[in-house]
């Protein structure tokens, strides 16, 4: 499955990109994070949430939609 992964704020500084396409053959958000921590070790120490199809999801959620985003703490307003 091709995933489109978006990075925001501090996380985009670490990945040095705001968006990338990735081939993903495993199941859950936790699986994806394991791959991303391999690619970007500095992500591991950061506080963030994962959005799947524009909803915040838990780590054990199965990925069924290509739109994934890594969101640092919100600071609107």
């Amino acid at each position: 499955m091709k995933l489109n992964i978006k990075y925001f704020g501090l996380l985009a500084e670490i990945t040095q990109c705001s968006e990338e396409t990735l081939s993903f053959s495993k199941e859950t958000v936790a699986d994806l994070l394991a791959e991303l921590f391999q690619k970007y070790p500095d992500l591991q120490s950061k506080d963030f949430q994962v959005a799947h199809q524009q909803e915040i999801v838990a780590k054990q959620t199965k990925i069924t939609h290509p739109e994934i985003a890594l969101l640092p703490p919100f600071s609107g307003g």
């Binding site: 925001f8 959005a51 524009q54 985003a69 703490p73 919100f74 600071s75 609107g76």
Partner: protein, 147 residues
């Protein structure tokens, strides 16, 4: 999520005080309204480790943010007897002293508007993926975290 059209809440740069005045003026024909309550978030020139914030640069996960603003809007209308409500949030750079968030609720009765206003602002802070980068006068920066 409702079927209603999702509005774009974001505006480029700061929200001007004159725009807020004009928004109020537009409600003078709605003579069932008895009370307006407005929240305006202003960028503070905080001093952090000796450096002063000169601006905040806002980015957002725009599609999700607009969907969340829409959900907040629907939840507010279903929980509070309000006549209308408007939300505007800045994207891009907003200098200290300028306004980055404008929330406006109106109702026939005053007691409702205080509760509705606070609800909307707290929901925005908690649920909307907007990210503020605090820019210091020496060009360095840090990522803001809401308290």
């Amino acid at each position: 999520m409702s079927e209603k059209k999702i509005k774009n809440v974001f505006v480029r740069g700061a929200i001007s005080p004159a725009f807020i005045g004009e928004s109020i003026a537009k409600h003078q024909s709605k003579t069932e309204i008895g009370a307006h309550a407005i929240f305006a978030g202003q960028v503070r020139a905080d001093v952090i480790e000796g450096k002063t914030v000169s601006a905040i640069e806002y980015t957002a996960y725009e599609e999700m943010a607009n969907a969340k603003f829409h959900e907040i809007r629907e939840a507010t209308f279903s929980s509070y007897d309000i006549t209308c409500m408007h939300i505007y949030h800045s994207l891009g750079s907003v200098a200290s002293g300028e306004i980055c968030l404008f929330v406006f609720v109106s109702s026939p009765r005053r007691k409702i508007v205080f509760k509705a206003l606070e609800f909307v602002v707290e929901e925005i802070k908690a649920k909307v993926p907007v990210f503020g980068k605090e820019l210091f006068e020496d060009q360095s920066h840090q990522w803001k975290v809401n308290s």
